[in-house]
């Protein structure tokens, strides 16, 4: 079986088995339930879902940190359960985690960025080139000699991204990278992610519960209780405000406002994503 997609899952099911102190099975929680999805190369994908919807567990499958209970996961044509591909998969699909402090290993920014290439056995000279180019790509080059402890959350998260880029991945999976950041740090991180997608053509999979970050995605998956409940372009997803609210997910404020205006009788289409769009629609009505 050969797959052309960057990432694809086939009836993926994952169960956490809870055990008591003697090791007897106490109960089984199904975190992911029969999920099949495809991510094409070069796409910007967003995965939405409230806490416990299985989105982080799903992300860890893309990087071969967790393995399916049933079904299979393919990364660039490689089955994650095939041990001989393990390190290739982890190199091709980089991962950014939520807490910036817990994923920075180096005591100096440049050393941390060099950690991945060091593990891959890249020659010293090339490590330096890769470190320089990846720090420049996220706009952190002037901080290369600093200790990570002196950086803000958003800066630390950008260093983490540089650390992943230095491994030359084809795909970056970001597991709620902005959850612990302030609004400015959040903007910087998302901007860096979008630039990588636009300029370098790296596939981005962004897991988040901030709706505003989803607007730019090519495709959105909405997860609930381990299932993929909805999928489509942001516009398609946000046209279904009622369904999203059923899944306990908010929508961007502008979308919500447009939705409420439409409900109270104005001729505004569903799926307004930006303020400019809403202004244009309102102008049309009141001309």
């Amino acid at each position: 079986m050969n797959k052309k997609e960057m990432i694809s899952t086939d009836n993926l099911t994952f169960e956490y088995i809870r055990r008591d102190e003697e090791g007897n099975v106490e109960g089984i929680t199904t975190a992911i339930d029969n999920v099949s999805l495809d991510v094409q190369k070069g796409q910007f994908i967003a995965i939405l879902g409230h806490n416990g919807s299985g989105k982080s567990t799903l992300a860890k499958h893309f990087n071969a940190l967790l393995f399916p209970t049933e079904g299979s996961v393919w990364v660039d044509g490689m089955n994650t359960e095939d041990d001989s591909h393990l390190w290739n998969i982890r190199q091709e699909a980089g991962m950014i985690f939520q807490n910036p402090d817990n994923q920075i290993i180096g005591q100096v920014v440049e050393e941390d960025v060099g950690f991945g290439p060091e593990n891959m056995g890249v020659p010293t000279k090339e490590i330096w080139e890769r470190v320089e180019e990846s720090l420049k790509a996220v706009g952190m080059y002037e901080f290369r000699k600093k200790s990570p402890n002196h950086l803000s959350g958003g800066q630390k998260q950008r260093v983490s991204i540089a650390g992943v880029i230095a491994m030359h991945p084809k795909c970056i999976i970001m597991d709620e990278p902005t959850a612990m950041l302030d609004p400015n740090g959040r903007k910087d991180v998302i901007r860096a992610a979008r630039a990588l997608n636009d300029v370098e053509g790296i596939t981005i999979i962004l897991i988040t519960h901030y709706m505003e970050e989803v607007v730019y995605a090519d495709k959105v998956f909405v997860m609930d209780k381990g299932h993929v409940e909805m999928q489509g372009t942001p516009r398609e997803i946000f046209s279904q405000v009622d369904k999203l609210q059923e899944l306990r997910l908010g929508v961007p404020q502008v979308t919500l406002l447009a939705h409420e205006l439409r409900k109270s009788g104005l001729a505004i289409p569903e799926g307004i994503l930006t303020r400019e769009e809403l202004v244009d629609e309102l102008k049309k009505i009141y001309r």
Binding site: L65, R90, N102, Q103, I105, E111, F115, N119, G121, V122
Partner: protein, 267 residues
């Protein structure tokens, strides 16, 4: 504030000692300590002193800074010297009440004092001129031969450098937990020593839990970045001996030979 904590006591200057390979500095420090126990007469101590002065001059670290470290061992120094002074049997010089100072005691006390002071100064020059990171790297490289007898050298040095990286983070966390508990009425400051020690227990529990959680996260992040132990790993900043390192080794060798010849054989 806690973020600015400097581990060890690294002092940044632009000196030749700072630029030396950490392996050279570790070996030199060990050799210097050994030399202090080789020499047995005062000419030997003068040579050691000259060697120390040369190191201090070359390192460009202010002398005041070096002797700051001496404060912490002042008590130890005093106790050692006093015990040697009063409790060595031999020819009595002065007798005050029941305490006798003997000739042998006096010499031994001075000798001990000099040895201790030199020992501390010599090793603080190493820690003052080498970053903890560099020291770990140097130790890893030096202990490399131990790999043959299955000592996990790479793992030990990785643990050391991760510990160094997380100490400030955990300190900050301790501070946070402490403040959270003070806000809810915990008292860390008053009462007897026992009472204060007991008050720290509820602080340690959440700290340990959080440390384990961090360890788990970090392990996953390292695996995600292809970490698989020391095999097949390249170095971003490999340690390579330069000309100056060989010169330093030569100087140290000369010093040791001089110590043996003058301190043991000639006199």
């Amino acid at each position: 504030m806690l973020r600015d904590i400097t581990l060890g006591q690294y002092y940044q200057t632009d000196s030749i000692i700072h630029k030396l390979d950490p392996r050279v500095k570790i070996v030199t420090t060990l050799m210097f300590i050994v030399s202090l126990f080789i020499v047995d007469n005062f000419i030997g101590y003068i040579i050691a002193a000259l060697f120390l002065i040369m190191e201090i001059k070359l390192s460009k670290v202010p002398v005041k800074f070096i002797f700051k470290g001496m404060k912490s061992i002042f008590f130890l120094l005093m106790i050692t010297m006093l015990f040697n002074l009063f409790l060595t049997p031999g020819e009595a010089i002065i007798q005050i009440w029941k305490l006798t100072i003997t000739r042998e005691g006096l010499i031994l006390a001075i000798r001990m004092g000099i040895r201790l002071i030199f020992l501390i100064t010599g090793s603080s020059i190493m820690t003052l001129t080498t970053t903890p990171n560099n020291l770990t790297d140097g130790l890893e490289k030096l202990m490399n031969p131990l790999k043959k007898v299955h000592v996990p050298v790479h793992e030990i040095s990785m643990m050391m450098s991760i510990a160094l990286r997380f100490i400030p983070i955990l300190l900050e966390e301790t501070d946070k937990i402490m403040k959270a508990q003070i806000a809810r009425g915990a008292d860390f400051e008053s009462g007897s020593i026992m009472k204060r020690a007991k008050a720290l227990v509820p602080l340690l529990v959440p700290l340990f839990i959080s440390a384990f959680r961090r360890a788990n996260d970090l392990a996953m992040a390292m695996e995600a970045r292809c970490y698989r132990g020391g095999d097949g790993r390249t170095k971003m900043k490999p340690l390579i001996y330069q000309k100056r390192d060989y010169i330093a080794y030569a100087v140290v060798l000369l010093y040791i030979v001089l110590c043996i010849v003058i301190g043991r054989i000639l006199l």
